[in-house]
């Protein structure tokens, strides 16, 4: 209950004109990022992180900007998906399957309105889950010892590898462990020994997350977009009534609640993003639907399921991020880096060190969902025009932003070179079926894993027994075994 009171307090305190203006701008930017194929929420958050850090914005204003882009981009994918059958993001692809046929039937406006309302409700569902789960999970996390932290980080890397590998899970694990290996580059924190620096002074401080994320997510996207066949934007179907039907919403309450729960649950699994949430929720809705025949021909229930889940996933992804320091989705990975850059360390000590931070994040997410609702309706009719920006013009500008973003992090051209090299490596890895998300999560969680493993071994004179005798550790060992043998069923 106290969390809800704190949340209400922060909701009012944060509503300064400057903060709301920043939020408005970032929501619009996020919707553009989500709507344009090739630009993702992760990339939006990554690019904006360097800007908020460089201009020394306050933590809450920075979070307003970053959460705005995150929420806007996850939602923005539904516009091109429904109107043009071009999903702006992977999460929007499930919406396109049902949304575009609806648009062809002249119900595009209704589909966008329904998607907007359900995205709003999905985000609020995530906020509610955050406020409900975080205090409980924070208390549990305080019981964690070094061995549990190590196992948690390892579980995060491995489950992310299992779930995001497009080919065989072993490739996902290799990517995650490769990230952990890259995290060992630099000066060892205990002994001050330089590892794998090859005499390069810039590597002594270790590999920085921003060039890795920009290189890993932006460069492969630029390469793919510019080298594949570029289709000129199709003319969208006209939008008629931009209003959701109350009856349709009422009929889909059950689907919305189930999708919200699935979104939060999937979001809280480390590194698994909104796209998987949307697809799994869509698949489940189809399976339990009273009218399965409508699916593929334009089912509003399908739109409701996908859009509620992908936005509920945002709140879900913030739960492990804030309580354990483990990001729940790729954009949340970037958010973790941004939060740490601003001097706040997410984890079980967060409620003690910054008691206002978690309710603040919940309040920011609520403001973001409200602005998304308003902006979503406002830009629906003009969003099609944004989609006419050709890829060959857009992507060179993204490349320019990527170079400036890597440089602006600490004014070093080494970061830009690293970003370019890492980007090419990421592209080659993806082409060979090795996913990038576990690699990035490995780099972020690597130091936590190593530090805690060494501490646990020192505490127990090199014995591995406590990893199996403590109940929480044992539970993580079981989860890790599960993640190793769990094979994702792809629909």
């Amino acid at each position: 209950m106290e969390a809800f009171v704190q949340f209400a307090h922060q909701f009012v305190v944060l509503a300064t004109p400057f903060n709301l203006l920043v939020l408005l701008g970032s929501i619009l930017l996020g919707i553009i990022f989500g709507a344009l194929p090739g630009l993702t929420a992760t990339l939006g958050v990554a690019l904006l992180t360097t800007v908020t850090y460089s201009i020394s914005l306050s933590v809450e204003t920075s979070m307003m900007a970053l959460m705005g882009v995150y929420v806007g981009a996850i939602y923005g994918g539904c516009h091109p998906a429904i109107l043009l059958n071009i999903p702006g993001t992977a999460a929007g692809a499930a919406t396109a399957v049902e949304g575009f046929p609806l648009s062809q039937q002249g119900r595009g406006g209704e589909a966008i309105a329904t998607a907007t309302v359900m995205s709003f409700l999905g985000t609020l569902f995530g906020v509610f889950a955050m406020l409900l789960c975080i205090p409980w999970l924070s208390r549990l996390a305080l019981l964690f010892q070094s061995s549990e932290y190590f196992l948690l980080a390892l579980f995060g890397v491995l489950i992310c590898g299992s779930l995001t590998a497009p080919d065989v899970p072993v490739k996902g694990w290799i990517a995650g462990l490769f990230g952990m290996l890259l995290a060992t580059v630099g000066m060892d924190p205990t002994h001050g020994f330089q590892r794998f620096t090859f005499g390069i002074p810039e590597l002594v401080e270790g590999i920085k997350p921003i060039p890795v994320i920009l290189g890993g997510f932006a460069i492969p996207q630029i390469i793919r977009s510019l080298t594949s066949k570029q289709d000129p934007a199709k003319t969208g179907n006209p939008i008629q009534s931009l209003w959701p039907k109350v009856l349709v919403l009422k009929q889909n309450v059950k689907t919305a609640i189930r999708s919200g729960l699935m979104g939060v649950g999937i979001g809280s699994i480390p590194g698994v993003g909104e796209d998987i949430a949307a697809w799994m929720s869509y698949d489940t809705a189809k399976r339990y639907s009273k009218n399965p025949g409508e699916y593929g021909e334009g089912s509003m229930e399908g739109v409701v399921a996908a859009e509620t889940a992908n936005n509920a996933c945002i709140g879900g992804a913030l739960i492990p991020l804030l309580t354990l320091g483990i990001p729940g989705s790729p954009p949340a990975m970037m958010l973790l880096g941004a939060i740490m850059l601003h001097g706040v360390i997410p984890g079980p000590r967060l409620p003690e060190e910054h008691p206002e931070f978690i309710p603040k994040m919940a309040a920011i997410l609520t403001w973001a969902s409200l602005f998304m609702l308003v902006c979503g309706f406002a830009v629906s009719r003009i969003s099609v025009y944004v989609l006419r920006i050709p890829v060959y013009l857009l992507m060179p500008f993204v490349a320019l932003f990527t170079v400036l973003g890597s440089y602006a992090f600490d004014y070093s051209l080494f970061n830009v070179w690293f970003m370019l090299g890492f980007g090419l490596l990421a592209y080659l890895m993806e082409e060979n079926g090795y996913p990038i998300a576990p690699l990035v999560i490995g780099i972020i969680l690597g130091p936590m894993a190593e530090d805690n493993l060494r501490r646990a071994l020192i505490d127990h004179q090199g014995s591995l027994l406590p990893f199996l005798t403590r109940p929480i550790s044992l539970a993580f060992v079981v989860l890790i075994c599960f993640s190793l043998f769990f094979r994702r069923r792809r629909s």
Partner: protein, 202 residues
């Protein structure tokens, strides 16, 4: 991602490469201090800087071999030499690879221009026409001038290289608008970054 048959063939190469990286990591880790004391700190094997790299190196060798075995079992080993032959014969694939290589080298060339500063001297020209305190005062600095010209050239060449379709009329409203975007875009970004965001340009 590659097609399934090509992927299985590539698995043999990528798995071998991962095992090789694992081996090199093991060699690197074995050279790290292990046992006794280091820097005045007790250094048992489990607390040494090489412990995690050692563990990861060993895992890479095993997992790399698992990828090789998987690729081999799925038929990747049958036509191992076909990959190179297909690449030489397949015009589309060769073209796509060259396009990807060219694109990446274009990005490298852009960063080289930013680092090398061949257009730094133009700051003197801008210094004559712009006041240092004005909106575009950043152009009178070596970094600012070099950034703008390098970025505009990069954007123009990239758009020209990756633009689908046939000929372009240079003297048309469309071309003029495009040129304004390509040269005005980096100017606006430079202005925002250096004047409002206080971020120095590369």
């Amino acid at each position: 991602m590659l097609e399934r048959s090509e992927l299985r063939r590539a698995d043999i190469f990528s798995g071998s490469l991962i095992s090789l990286i694992g081996g090199l990591t093991l060699i690197g880790a074995s050279k790290m201090p292990m046992g006794g004391t280091y820097g005045g700190v007790d250094n048992p094997w489990y607390a040494s800087p090489g412990a995690i790299p050692l563990l990861l190196g060993a895992l890479f060798i095993l997992l790399g071999l698992a990828v090789v075995v998987h690729g081999w079992r799925q038929g990747g080993g049958r036509h191992l030499g076909d990959g190179v032959r297909c690449f030489v014969r397949d015009h589309d694939r060769r073209r796509r690879t060259l396009k990807i290589g060219g694109l990446w080298l274009g990005l490298v060339a852009y960063v080289l221009l930013l680092a090398w500063k061949p257009f730094a001297a133009s700051s003197l020209v801008f210094g004559r026409v712009l006041s240092a305190q004005g909106h575009f005062g950043f152009l009178t600095e070596a970094n600012g001038a070099n950034y703008w010209i390098s970025s505009a050239i990069f954007l123009t060449l990239f758009v020209w290289a990756f633009r689908p379709g046939g000929r372009v009329k240079i003297l048309s409203w469309r071309s003029m608008a495009l040129a304004t975007t390509l040269w005005g875009g980096p100017l606006l970004l430079g202005y925002l970054f250096s004047v409002h965001l206080h971020v120095p340009l590369p």
